[in-house]
Amino acid sequence: MRMKEIKQVIILGIIMLLVKLCVAQTAPGYMGKKLIIEYSVTGAPALFRINKNGKSGIDIFPPDFKLPMNYGHKLTGSYSINRKSAYGASLELFTTGVDYSNITLGKGVIENNRITQINGHNAQNDAVLNTYGLTLFKSFYRNGISPLGRHTNIGIKILYASTDLSQVNFSSFTNTNNNQTEVLVYDLSGKSPSSIEWGFTYGMGVNRILFDKVVINFGFEVVLMFSALNAWGEDWRGQYDFTDYTGVEEGRFSPNTFNKKLSSDTELFKKLGSERVFTSQFFNLKIGIGFLAH
């Protein structure tokens, strides 16, 4: 989805919200209050992919207990437009890790149309993925006591995902099949691959209201990041990525032609980031606290 289209969707959403707010004066809210401002923590156990600290996999039994989590922070505002529904928007920051353990970047040296040498760089640390998101959603309260009780949220989410490579160090190596050696220093400076992703969100939750003011919330959210769908399910972490090489027909170190899809190392970083966005956003639990503002 292009930026222009995204803007159009946002504007349309805002207009719809305003129209609803104007005509829906019959909403009782909770004791007359309809606006909730809420801070929530989202998270899910890092089962198969690493979190920002590079940890993954769980074991709840001592002595090997471990339960690494991915966390995010969310600021949400929602407004009940009638007893069965509410509109809302949330801003979020979500951080996780991108596994670079098998990433090798290399450059082939070609002589007489043959690869004679590969100068590669293995990643030593994992990258950190920061995402900044905006979600516009509608909540459906089937019990008719919005903003209290069980509800289902359906919305659209736009994310700005940025991979922080500052912790990633590439150590160099050289493979030769003759005596020529060329050592390259892989330069990461100035590389901060980023992308804008969008998708649909579906979530369920329960709101409780304490002392007529404090709102607590539990729930979960499933996000299908459509824009990152094509990045998911493919192994971008092949052994080689020939950033400046476009074709090899023979040679000892025949490259994986699959990797030729990517035209640059930055694109590889982006793909890895997108894939991680997809997996990290897919399912998250949510616990929040807020207040009835108006």
């Binding site: 909770y30 004791m31 769980i58 709840i60 009638n82 007893r83 019990n143 008719g144 006591i145 069980r150």
Partner: protein, 730 residues
């Protein structure tokens, strides 16, 4: 001396409390609210538990405890929902007869309280805490004071010997095979019945001792058993004649006569098996009593000691009240026949005529809706002369029934011009006739016929008429039975004007019916989502209710918790009304400030019960006749009923939890929490009505699968008041 005093009191109280039968209005409680109405049930339970003997075995103690809990809450619910009368002339009378009976046992007399239960059935029962209930149906049927005295003696023994509690404890022993039932308990139902009958016989025999101490005639014991044996027959048994409906050229009965009326059979015939009954066969009881009094002289004994006049008055009041009770229970055949019987003695009584008019109106509505069987008892099960009434209305065509209702109502409306209720239902009956029963204005003639000489000639050529002529003729004969019904009414310009108006409405309805229905459906859908905007400033909330049930426990209703939580519910109603700006008056059934409030609550609950029974039928409740007066009193026509039910059950959905427990055991804590906590369900309702009308302005019924936390309670209550007070946008 004491009897002299009682006689004086009888005269005095008769003068003080007597109701003018010509202007009869339903019976209502009087005087101060008895203390037990305003004492919390939990306090009564605490006191009751103190009476349990520690010497009893633990199982019996437990059973007694449960009995005290359940019975106290049950009795208090009966008292607080307005179903009884206290300090009314009927209660006073019963109390005075009891005083005569217990002249030598003042201590026992002082422990007893007599209330009249507003029920048409013939019954009396005593509770363990000294409250004795006598039904209106029983008072309407007994023939003299001595019969009542015998019944009271029986009930007094039940109280004195705590039969209710001992019966319950014994029942629990039978249920759990304990004590003497350990070995011989193959038929629990039979054992329970056997024990219950033993208690009843003991109450008869010991009651007789109390009875014999008085000067009441023991010949009347037989009479009392007659009352029980013929309790299923109305207050009298005379042929039903429709002269009250008939007019020149209009005689409804001639087409619906039942040739053979079902003969009357007593309850508990000689051969009736009472093995599984709670009470012994009446004939057996009769025989036992006869043997007990054998050889005793009845000399100097009398049917009346307290007051003959008071008895007659009480009986008449009860019989009039029966018409009301039958009608509000939608037993229109029974009500109509009861009023018919009374009308023979009180031919100009407006209450009785209005009652008959209402029964016709209601039956016509139900007939048009195809649900007459819901309000008219099947005539095949009726014995005696009243069967004709049930047969008549069962067979009557809807057009005829509507016509009869209109004719009767408009006729009596002319006689009772101040009766606004009558005007309202008379107009509504006319509207119903033209819009729903298929009758057209053209079906009714404006003048009576002249002698028709062509009829004979027609009969001669009968053989020559075609199939279609025959069908047409049959149809005409059906219409003929109603065609002269309104000849006199057409002289009333108001009647004709309304008839024209409803005829036009009918035409429009036929034209735009689909559109109207579609709009109604859309409106209902919108209201469901956005709520109502009723713009009402003042409401009266009646009998707010809260109950919690825990289906995991043996005693499912959590009485004590409910009692406390109900107070929260009432408080939150007051708070939410205040916050939304609704002026709220509360007629609570927890604490009665005055008898006035108790009567109002009772009347309004009757209104709502009746309205509920009518379901979607647009019909004015009969109780409107008496509730219209409350509009001025409370300054509003809007009355509401609200309540919450909380239900706790066992969890059912173990699938996901099971999976999460299995998965690395990470769900174990969740699984434990899930297993230990119940599944909660909360039901909330608010019904708001304009009691001068029949439509529900708000019928809010909500369900949430959550515990009834304060926030849940507040949300629903606030929403109700918000909808009540919100004004429609211009």
């Amino acid at each position: 001396m004491r009897l002299l005093f009682l006689a004086f009191m009888a005269h005095f109280s008769l003068a003080l409390f007597s109701q003018d039968i010509d202007n009869f209005s339903i019976l209502q409680s009087k005087g101060d609210v008895p203390e037990e109405f305003n004492t919390l049930s939990s306090e009564k339970v605490k006191e009751g538990i103190k009476t349990i003997s520690k010497k009893d075995n633990l199982t019996d103690q437990k059973s007694a405890k449960r009995f005290i809990l359940e019975s106290n809450y049950f009795i208090d619910e009966l008292l607080s929902n307005g179903a009884i009368l206290y300090n009314e002339s009927l209660c006073e009378y019963i109390g005075n007869v009891a005083t005569v009976l217990l002249e030598d046992d003042k201590e026992l007399r002082n422990q007893l309280r007599f209330y009249v239960l507003k029920s048409p059935t013939v019954n009396a029962f005593a509770t363990d805490r000294g409250t004795i209930f006598i039904t209106v149906g029983l008072l309407a049927q007994i023939e003299n004071e001595a019969q009542l005295a015998f019944i009271l003696s029986h009930e007094i023994v039940h109280y004195k010997n705590k039969h209710a509690r001992t019966g319950y404890v014994e029942g629990q022993r039978i249920e759990h095979n304990s004590g003497k039932y350990r070995r011989d308990n193959w038929d629990k139902k039979l054992n329970k019945s056997k024990y219950s009958k033993e208690l009843e016989l003991q109450a008869d025999i010991d009651g007789l001792q109390i009875f014999l101490k008085s000067k009441y005639s023991f010949k009347e014991i037989n009479g009392a058993f007659d009352v029980l044996q013929y309790a299923h027959i109305p207050i009298d048994d005379v042929p039903f004649n429709t002269e009250i409906f008939n007019d020149q050229e209009f005689d409804v009965l001639k087409n619906y006569i039942k040739e053979e009326i079902e003969p009357i059979k007593p309850i508990d015939d000689e051969d009736d098996d009472d093995d599984y009954h709670t009470h012994p066969n009446i004939n057996k009881r009769r025989s036992i009593m006869a043997s007990e009094i054998e050889g005793k002289s009845n000399e100097g004994r009398t049917e009346f000691i307290y007051s003959t006049e008071a008895f007659k008055h009480v009986k008449t009041l009860a019989q009039f009240e029966l018409s009301y009770l039958y009608t509000k229970q939608r037993l229109y055949g029974e009500a109509l026949y009861n009023s018919y019987l009374l009308l023979r003695s009180y031919p100009n009584n407006k209450f009785l005529k209005t009652n008959i008019g209402y029964c016709l109106y209601a039956m016509s509505k139900y007939r048009n809706d195809g649900k007459i069987h819901k309000v008219l008892t099947d005539y095949s099960g009726i014995q005696g002369e009243s069967q004709q009434v049930f047969y008549l209305f069962d067979k009557m065509e809807k057009k005829t029934m509507g016509t009869l209702a209109v004719k009767y109502l408009w006729d009596i409306k002319g006689e009772d011009k101040d009766n606004s209720f009558l005007s309202v239902i008379a107009e509504d009956a006319l509207k119903e006739l033209l819009l729903e029963s298929g009758a057209r204005k053209s079906d009714y003639k404006k003048i009576f016929p002249e002698k028709d000489t062509s009829q004979l000639a027609e009969e001669v050529v009968e053989t020559k008429v075609s199939k279609y002529d025959r069908i047409k003729k049959l149809k005409d004969s059906e219409e003929n039975e109603i065609q002269y019904a309104f000849v006199n009414l057409f002289k009333n310009p108001e009647f004709e004007k309304l008839m024209n108006q409803y005829e036009k409405e009918y035409v429009n309805k036929v034209k735009d019916g689909d559109e109207i229905e579609k709009n109604k459906r859309e409106e209902a859908r919108r209201k469901e989502k956005e709520g109502r905007a009723l713009g009402i400033e003042k409401v009266v909330m009646v009998s707010p209710n809260y109950k919690r049930f825990d289906l995991r426990k043996q005693v499912t209703e959590q009485h004590e918790f409910s009692e406390g939580r109900k107070e929260d519910f009432i408080d939150l109603n007051i708070k939410c009304a205040e916050k939304t700006g609704v002026e709220l008056s509360m007629i609570s059934n927890t604490f009665f400030e005055s008898t006035d409030k108790y009567n109002d609550m009772s009347l309004l609950n009757d209104w709502m019960d009746e309205r509920f029974e009518h379901q979607n039928l647009h019909i004015y409740p009969y109780c409107k006749l008496f509730t219209d007066g409350l509009v001025q009193k409370y300054g509003t026509t809007y009355f509401g009923w609200s309540g919450m039910y909380s239900l706790r059950t066992k969890k059912t959905g173990w699938g996901w939890i099971g999976l999460s427990v299995l998965y690395y055991g990470m769900g174990i804590p969740i699984g434990i929490y899930y297993a230990l906590t119940p599944e909660n369900h909360t039901f909330y309702y608010t019904y708001l009505v304009d009691i001068t009308n029949y439509d529900f302005l708000m019928s809010k019924e909500d369900y949430v699968k959550m515990k009834d936390h304060n926030d849940v309670m507040k949300s629903y209550i606030y929403d109700s008041y918000h909808q009540i007070t919100t004004k429609t946008k211009e």
